[in-house]
């Protein structure tokens, strides 16, 4: 086994923790229905996915919370052929 493999293996515990923290933040918000941004994100993506195939890895979501205004920016990369065929 090379050194890189050894290094990777030894970090997998923290990888598990970090993946769970992100995932559960979403799942808890969805379960509560309290986090409007999370609900909006899911529903907007679902609507777009009905018309265009979406690669979830190519979706960038930014949520900025301000004192008076919050903005939700969803940046979706749409495949060229899917758009052209319409």
């Amino acid at each position: 086994m090379n050194l890189f493999g050894l290094f990777n293996r030894s970090r997998s515990g923290s990888a598990a923790r970090e993946r769970l923290q992100i995932l559960l933040a979403h799942e808890r918000a969805a379960a509560d229905g309290a986090d409007l941004a999370a609900v909006l994100q899911q529903e907007i993506l679902a609507v777009i996915a009905r018309h265009v195939p979406i690669d979830r890895d190519k979706v960038v979501v930014k949520l900025e919370r301000g004192a008076h205004v919050s903005t939700l920016a969803i940046d979706i990369e749409m495949p060229e052929d899917a758009v052209a065929s319409r």
């Binding site: 030894s10 598990a16 993946r19 559960l24 379960a31």
Partner: protein, 272 residues
């Protein structure tokens, strides 16, 4: 005051039945009158883990449906006279349990026992929701592994919303029982550590039970691990857990897993 406790997890195979049997036996050993109730209708196993599989005549479904009286279905353990089992039915499915029937049976059990320990089936369906429905406190059994932690989080959400206590605005007491933990692998960073799981799930720790071959050898012969090998690390962890459930405060050293010599020597270094 009798207490109803559910042992639950969401995910299967994490050690619910082993833990329910071990905690029930440990509580019974202190002189408390304990009944273990198997809610896994159709897939019962608590009878086998307790070595009572050949003594089952009537079961939970018979009692819920009024085909048998509670005393006819209760099985007293041969080793501990304060430990009892109310087995699940093996031939029926989970729909045979009705909310009203379960409420009635739990009410009767409360009058007879100090501890009513409900062993939940895996999943989030009817059997699991009925097992947690009347609980005063919950033991959430979790392995230091991503799918188990995720499912435990879901179950914690259900304990806080779908139980009678939650609906009445009362607090559901929840305890984390971390099982199949491997200190050496956690020290090397190959496994989530106790603190990682505690931080994610945010419920208090009851005890950490190390991965151990004692668990299999106890279930092979149908004996709770706390009775089978009382000196083992696993048995001591369950004993400490039971004492904490009774409101005692055993030292944390009994609740956390011990480091082996090799792990002490090499664990820290490889983790760095």
């Amino acid at each position: 005051m009798s207490k109803v406790m559910v042992v639950t997890s969401g995910k299967g195979g994490v050690g619910k039945t082993t833990s329910a049997a071990a905690l029930g036996a440990a509580l019974a050993q202190t002189g408390q009158n304990v009944v273990l109730v198997d809610f896994d209708v159709g897939l019962r196993n608590l009878d086998l883990v307790l070595g009572a599989e050949r003594r089952v005549v009537f079961d939970l479904v018979n009692v819920v449906q009024g085909d048998a009286r509670l005393p006819q279905a209760l099985i007293r353990d041969k080793r501990l006279e304060t430990l009892h089992l109310l087995p699940a039915s093996q031939t029926r499915d989970k729909d045979a349990l009705t909310p009203e029937g379960v409420e009635q049976v739990i009410g009767e059990l409360r009058e007879r026992f100090d501890w009513v320990v409900c062993d939940s089936p895996a999943g989030i369906e009817r059997g699991a929701t009925l097992a947690m429905r009347h609980a005063d406190l919950a033991v959430v059994v979790t392995n230091p592994e991503v799918s188990s932690v995720r499912d435990s989080d879901r179950i914690i959400g259900m304990l806080d919303s779908k139980t009678r206590r939650a609906e009445e605005g009362e607090v559901m007491e929840k305890h984390l029982l971390l099982t199949r933990y491997d200190v050496a692998r956690a020290d090397r960073g190959e496994m989530m550590k106790v603190e990682d799981v505690l931080e994610i799930l945010a419920i208090p720790l009851l005890a950490v039970v190390a991965e151990s071959r004692d668990v299999l050898s106890a279930s092979n012969v149908g004996c709770p691990v706390t009775l089978h090998n009382p000196q083992s690390a696993v048995a001591r962890a369950y004993d400490a857990a039971a004492r904490r459930l009774m409101g005692e405060s055993p030292p944390m050293s009994e609740v956390l897993p011990k480091r082996g010599l090799l792990s002490r020597l090499f664990g820290r270094r490889t983790a760095a």
